[in-house]
């Protein structure tokens, strides 16, 4: 279509040129544009023995809808990364293999696991000179007993990298690196989960020590929310203050520039006046000199008419 349009308009003359240009344009578009990547989950089922433990996976709305949005304008190759589906798949795959995962909403469980994203970072080859895309994900796992009291709080980090390739786009590289990072988290969980003291106690039929009751947990969550809100307010106030400060500075700079321009124009005007005056004076002098030149004999003549002397010939006209 583009092909035809351009040819009709006479911009492109031959097929060869058209195809070549379109290819170049496509390459430029592929390599130059920022990407919105949606990660397709690629997590295998862990080859581990299942524990005699009923678990309930709790995904909050924040977790289910998590999308990383790049706010830094200088980092061009990634606009957003949506791995919400991939991470829920990973947690389901892992915990359905390691434990007996109960259906969502069921109250018959020994352990509830609530994952939360603490941090997400990435790097591009242009930033590290390593010729690879890298992803870091940090999770927090809240472990609750069947009365929703907190019995453990774990932090787990995943790292994934994928090398750059000649025909690999940034989107597919980010997709692969995120999947590797999620696989890393899943691998650590699958291997280490049964070794944890809390899990061993639960499997043995014991009662793990409560680190925070449900009420305390709710209070902690409320405190955290309030602190976050306060922090956000402070940040907003700081941003407003910074904006005002910037405005003031801008205004001051503007004023200064204006004054400077004014002073400069005054100076220029003064200088021009001086030049004008000088010119005028010079002109005056020149004019007077000219007048002098023209009128000199008149002034040299005696004011009182003298009678012609004897040696002077009388005017013939007289």
């Amino acid at each position: 279509m583009l092909d035809k349009m351009l040819r009709v308009r006479g911009i492109m003359k031959s097929n060869w040129f058209t195809h070549k240009s379109i290819c170049l344009l496509a390459v430029a578009l592929i390599s130059g544009c920022a990407n919105s990547v949606v990660v397709k989950p690629d997590i295998p089922r862990p080859l581990v023995e299942r524990l005699d433990l009923k678990t309930n996976l709790v995904f909050t709305d924040t977790f289910n809808d998590y999308v990383y949005l790049e706010s830094e304008k200088k980092r061009g190759s990634l606009k957003s990364l949506n791995f919400a589906d991939a991470q829920t798949t990973m947690f389901r795959q892992v915990f359905s293999s390691v434990t007996n995962l109960v259906e969502e909403g069921s109250s018959e469980y020994d352990l509830a696991i609530e994952p939360e994203i603490l941090d997400f970072q990435y790097s591009e080859p242009s930033e590290t000179k390593l010729k690879q895309y890298e992803i870091w994900i940090k999770y927090r796992l809240k472990l609750l007993n069947n009365t929703e009291d907190s019995i453990a709080d774990w932090t787990i980090k995943g790292y994934g990298k994928t090398p750059t390739g000649l025909l690999t786009s940034a989107s597919s590289a980010f997709n692969a690196a995120t999947n590797i990072a999620l696989r890393d988290v899943g691998a650590q969980l699958s291997i280490r989960f049964p070794k944890q003291r809390v899990i061993k106690t639960l499997v043995d039929g014991g009662t793990p020590r409560v680190i925070a009751t449900k009420a305390e947990r709710i209070q902690q969550a409320l405190d955290k929310k309030a602190a976050e809100e306060q922090k956000a307010k402070d940040r907003a106030a700081e941003a407003i203050a910074a904006k005002e400060r910037r405005e003031k500075e801008k205004q001051a700079r503007k004023e200064k520039r204006k004054n400077k321009t004014k002073n400069k124009s005054d100076e220029v005007k003064e200088a021009e006046d001086v030049v004008d005056e000088a010119d005028a004076a010079q002109e005056g002098q020149v004019a007077s000199e000219k007048v002098k030149e023209n009128e000199a004999p008149t002034f040299e003549e005696p004011l009182v008419e003298q009678e012609p002397s004897a040696d002077q010939e009388p005017d013939t006209n007289d």
């Binding site: 295998p44 089922r45 862990p46 080859l47 690879q132 890298e134 790292y159 691998a187 650590q188 291997i191």
Partner: protein, 228 residues
Amino acid sequence: MKQNLKFISTAAALLLLSACTTINVDHVRLKDTAELKKGDAMVVLGRHQTAEIQTEASLVSCIGGRLARGTGEVRIIPESEFVDSFYPWFEARTAPLHPKKLRKVLDQPLVAEKIKALNIRYFVWVEGSTERTNSAGSMTCSVGPGGGGCFGFGTWEDTSDYETTIWDLETFTEVGRVSTEAVGTSYMPAFVIPIPLLAQVEGDACQGMGNQLVRFFAKDDTALKTSP
């Protein structure tokens, strides 16, 4: 017609021209014989445990292919297939770094069962990478409405440094080690069209290492079953 022939022969000559690579292969045998029975399987895996260590999947696959061709009776399990089916035990950060650790992994009944079912006898670990170690020259390319072209000359040097470790699953010991260092310089003169004279450093390293591994598993050490 004559002109066409000239063009084709020039193009063929240019394609035949390629830069050279120097390869140095060292091999250490820690066990007198590396037995391989018909039906045995082997797995070739790359190391990726840190950000700096990123063994190319293409090289791992190339070595696997060479081994499969050279040791006809042995089945080579592709890396991705093996890693996926044994998830989470052979991931970048969970893969065993020593044969003793591998024994611990095989303490997992499901893993041991699967290894047995697949009849895996040897693990071949490949670690290393190919990197650009030097480059010089310059080239300018431009494209305009009337066409495009490049002028200049570029040259670069790639160095491959790989080490292969062979583990025997019967004894849980390291039975051999093959290390390869390959250095190759590529050239790219450009007079309107760039003519790449590329040194296949990674490919040559794979060939050198693959041949040595085939020798390692061959009953007669001097016999080389692979084609060069």
